[in-house]
Amino acid sequence: MPEITRAEVAHLADLARIDLSDTELDHLAPQLVVILEAIASINDVAADDVPPTSHPLPLTNVFRADVVRPSLTAQEALSGAPVEPEQQRFSVPRILGEEA
């Protein structure tokens, strides 16, 4: 049976940048266990001769030629920015301690 601890949920929430309260963690951890159990039922039908599937389409090698196509204008690109652009660039909060 899959087991997922409260600490693991907290870690996943942190990775996904989701702020979860203690109450929410208590609530979600057992729920995730139930979800994982449900998905694990696939193991009952999985056979050695069936490779894991990541794509439902029987396609490979879908390529485009190396040809330049028109881009957006900078104005169009920046039009959805949540914060007023500066120097024709997206303005984002600095993540502390990341870049030297």
């Binding site: 030629a65 190396d66 690109a77 920046l78 024709q88 997206f90 301690g97």
Partner: protein, 501 residues
Amino acid sequence: MTTRTAEKVLSFEEALAGFDPTMGLEVHVELNTVSKMFCGCATGFGAEPNTQVCPVCLGLPGAMPVVNEKAVESAIRIGLALNCRIASWCRFARKNYFYPDMPKNFQTSQYDEPIAFDGWMDVEVDGETVRVEIERAHMEEDTGKSLHVGGATGRIHGADHSLVDYNRAGIPLIEIVTKTIPGTREKAPLVAKAYVAQLRDLLLALGVSDVRMEQGSLRCDVNLSLAPAGSGQLGTRTETKNVNSLRSVERAVRYEIARQAALLQSGVPIVQETRHWHEDTGVTTSGREKSDAEDYRYFPEPDLVPVAPSTEWVDELRASLPEPPRERLARLQREWGFSDLEMRDTVGAGALVLVEETVAAGAAPGAARKWWLSELARRANERGAEVADLGVTPTDVARVQALVDEGRINDKLARQVFDGLLAGEGTPDEVVEGRGLAVVSDEGALSAAVDRAIADNPAVADKIRDGKVAAAGALIGAVMKELGGKADAGQVRELILAKLI
């Protein structure tokens, strides 16, 4: 947190006395495709910010990526040139992380199914060959470029923030990862540098990248760990980023060896972390602690179907590979009969291809080297130009040498022919004609000049008659002077000896 205080280091010699270094090198190379990895945006360097972006590389909802075929082709050719096996089937994967340089909040990369794996490259250091094993070469995309704006600019709340340009986001990258390179001891810094230098030459010969380290199209991360000398163990490693010149690769390896040794010797364990290399001060500083691989929560990219190169395609690409740089150098040296020093000088002067083409145009290798490395390299130097940019072609040089070989000019006159070529006076033959440089080959005129020289120098002539052949030099000089240098010295000498002995 980042600390700028200088850390204690041991001397390189002390460090090696106590510890064995093990390295791993990760090189990111930007391909020179004209469009991005998954969309048709242009890839030119230096465009105005956010002018080479579209819904795909900005990660806008609903945008669908499509793989650039040329990038896959380049990846396979790189893999083949590194003696790798090529995957017959592989997928892209999402590497999930939140950092503003990736607007999608994931980087499209490859995880456990790289397109190329299990290769090697032989690296030459001080005449010794070190085999560097290649773990994998995989396809991914570059990130955007951040401009950090400090709080010292007097802005409201003084808050630090960053400005991002996504022109670079989505440019095809190939990440080439070595296996750990053990046992290089004191040569570790030089092996690292030689590996990156040779890899750069290889990528250049393949024509897949501009490989300009100063523009970031070739970037190197250095993984390094130490273990007690002779223990055969593997220590905890650090990953030093931002090592972006050949000289820095060598210096960063040397510095990390000395820094880690100082910590270990005083009983402080190494923390597995990312470190940043500072070109100006020559030190590394602590960055963030390295995430575990699981933290990126890789999973197969659902928007892209697998890449499955057929055997025929791979064979076709294999046939398009250039001769590997080292093999080519070795072959040319063998064919030309150059010494190691002569070969190094030729490469160093940027004249390898010029000499090769001059030889192909019919000149002897030694003569081709002589003209390019002495005469033409000197003139290029005077003009502050590259020898290849002088405007003198290999065909010209081969023709000048042919004129010398035919006895129509001598070396001294050949130099004047180069003057004429550089002054734009036409072909070598036209310069010889226009400047009246041909040697006097008219037997009658030569004979008369020799007779006069003998008559003017009776004492010298007597010595030669007595068998002192070496004295002929004085007479040759007199004849050359009379003919303004336009005579073949060998021919004059023969004439003098024939008349006197």
